[in-house]
């Protein structure tokens, strides 16, 4: 499943990364090299095998519905590169 330049751009956008135009070719080649390598997995017969998400297959632990957290506004905002009026500020989002 070789990928092309267009795919490189699409994947980069999905990941919100920019690949400079003069790097696309190179990125694509590198990508295909890695993909070729991981495609060794095709050799493996996995027909009756269930996917393994995590080695921990026990049931999810659950917490009681009590308020134990929050009320740390200052700490939450502490590292904000831009905050105004107690909000995180971003460029205008229009929808």
């Amino acid at each position: 499943m070789a990928i092309d330049n267009e795919m490189v751009k699409q994947v980069a956008f999905l990941a919100r990364l920019k690949v400079e135009d003069d790097k696309i070719e190179e990125t694509k080649d590198e990508f295909n090299k890695i993909l070729n390598w991981i495609e060794q997995l095709k050799e493996v017969d996995t027909s009756d095998i269930m996917p393994l998400v995590s080695v921990n297959d026990s049931s999810i632990p659950m917490r009681e519905d009590t308020i134990t957290d929050g009320n740390v506004k200052e700490a939450v905002l502490k590292n904000a590169p831009m905050q105004e009026f107690g909000y995180f500020a971003v460029p205008k989002v229009v929808e």
């Binding site: 519905d65 957290d69 740390v72 909000y87 971003v90």
Partner: protein, 484 residues
């Protein structure tokens, strides 16, 4: 009643499915211990988890699971004993982690069905595809600064149930009836407050049209965030019409996302479904799968309250109500409880009439909810009793009701204090009648001469003279006798 859009050439049918996001009622968020309260200062009810800080991990809130199971049972749906949380990946400023924890391939609730009643007296079953639980996003505030949006994470991480229906709706009315029914059910269950205008219940509609008789589905448009039942109906109607117009002009519809404009009632284009919508779902590695036992589900079943459909049937049977009255009385659990409390030991049908009539009219006129009503169920029950026992007449009862509204007391007390007790003493009534007849000799003569419609005049005069306290039936009988 089949709803279609008729044009000169064709007859079109609507195919619509709904996705409803219901905020789960719980004290703390679905994956953090921060409070779910709103209205507080921005970014207060936010934990480091809700703010997507590095290294933070989610821990599932028991209550949210229980609420979803309850809702599933309330929608007659399959509860899945094995479900899995997944990540839905997308970038948006209100999504702190760059992904939403939701359920994808294995939701907690599977197929179900909800019966809706339509205005023509028919009913219809709407299929529930699934319910999954997930986290809400933060809120963006756009009107504080022309160049910036502000993000408040108070809402981020509040539990949501996303209820997905089959594309079973063929008219705006059906969708409206379903939304009202769903709202009523979640409110009964106490799993969501159902307030669409406050955003605790939000609806997206998937709308397409097809020629009547056509089997396949055409491309659909998804209309986002329609925040009232009325708007949902409007959005479906107008979006369907828009699509019909495009088809009739030879155009095609592309799968797209649209937004409802409250001011125009129309939908407007947002974006095409494309590569950007590739959410790259995968199982959430921070959360093991959720397994529920039969015992757990059975225990929740035992806790289930009587739901509107069952209650309605029972009201019709036990209280001899009309389907219409029973429907209104069971729409909310509060109303139903009020009614049942009032009807206890009294004539249910009459109690219903008082509630649906005078009480609701007064509440509406004063913009009050039932919880704010000055009149208690016991007052209504006693009022109905006083009439039944001939203590007061229906007419006086209306006055008693007004007194009660203004100065909440038990009706018997009002009747006592104001001396409104109906006179049932034959002698006393005869005395009043005699004096009325004596004062109107001309009319008596005219009546006897054949002007029988004067009978009403005499009744009126007697009632007036008794200040309304005379038992009208007795007045009738005695008058008839006296006038011969």
């Amino acid at each position: 009643m089949t709803y279609t859009i008729k044009t000169e050439k064709n007859e079109w049918e609507i195919v619509c499915g709904l996705e409803i996001h219901c905020q789960i009622i719980s004290k703390s968020k679905i994956f953090s211990g921060a409070s779910t309260e709103f209205g507080d200062d921005a970014n207060v009810n936010v934990s480091f988890i809700d703010a997507g800080m590095p290294g933070m991990l989610p821990v599932l809130n028991k209550e949210c699971v229980k609420q979803a199971v309850k809702t599933g049972l309330g929608l007659n749906a399959q509860i899945n004993k094995h479900s899995v949380f997944s990540r839905k990946n997308y970038f948006y400023p209100d999504q702190p982690n760059g992904y939403q924890i939701t359920q994808y391939e294995y939701p907690i609730v599977g197929k179900g069905a909800v019966k809706i009643d339509l205005s023509d007296g028919t009913s219809k079953e709407i299929g529930i595809t699934r319910i999954h639980i997930e986290q809400d996003a933060a809120k963006s505030i756009h009107d504080l600064n022309p160049k910036k949006s502000y993000i408040d994470f108070n809402r981020a991480g509040v539990g949501l149930m996303e209820i997905v229906t089959e594309p079973d709706f063929r008219s705006p009315e059906e969708a409206g009836a379903f939304l009202r029914k769903l709202r009523s059910i979640v409110r009964y269950l106490g799993t969501c407050d159902g307030n669409m205008d406050e955003g605790s219940m939000r609806c997206d509609a998937s709308i397409s049209v097809r020629l009547k008789g056509e089997q396949k589905m055409r491309e659909r448009a998804e209309v986002k965030n329609v925040n009232s039942v009325k708007f949902a109906m409007q959005a479906i109607e107008n979006e369907a019409k828009r699509q019909v117009e495009i088809y009739e002009q030879g155009g095609t519809i592309e799968q797209q996302t649209r937004q409802f404009d409250q001011t125009t009632g129309q939908t407007k284009f947002l974006r095409l479904k494309e590569y950007a919508d590739d959410y790259r779902y995968f199982p959430e590695p921070d959360l093991p799968p959720l397994y529920l036992t039969d015992e757990y589900i059975e225990n929740i079943k035992k806790e289930m309250v009587e739901l509107p459909d069952a209650k309605k049937d029972r009201f019709i049977k036990d209280y001899a109500l009309t389907a219409y009255d029973a429907d209104i009385l069971t729409e909310s659990r509060q109303t139903a409880d009020f009614f049942e409390q009032a009807a206890k030991g009294h004539d249910g049908k009459k109690v219903a009439n008082w509630i649906l009539g005078d009480l609701f009219a007064n509440l509406n006129a004063n913009k009050l909810t039932l919880e704010q009503s000055p009149i208690t169920p016991e007052m209504i029950g006693e009022l109905v009793d006083l009439i039944a026992k001939n203590v007061i007449s229906g007419k006086i009862a209306k006055d008693v009701f007004v007194y009660m509204w203004e100065n909440p007391k038990m009706p018997s007390q009002i009747v006592e204090e104001k001396g409104l007790k109906q006179v049932t003493d034959t002698g006393a009534i005869e005395a009043v009648i005699d004096s009325v007849l004596a004062q109107n000799p001309d009319n008596v003569a005219a009546y006897k001469a054949g002007k029988v419609n004067l009978f009403g005049f005499f009744v009126g005069q007697v009632m007036k003279a008794s200040k309304g306290a005379a038992n009208p039936q007795m007045v009738n009988e005695i008058l008839k006798k006296k006038l011969g």
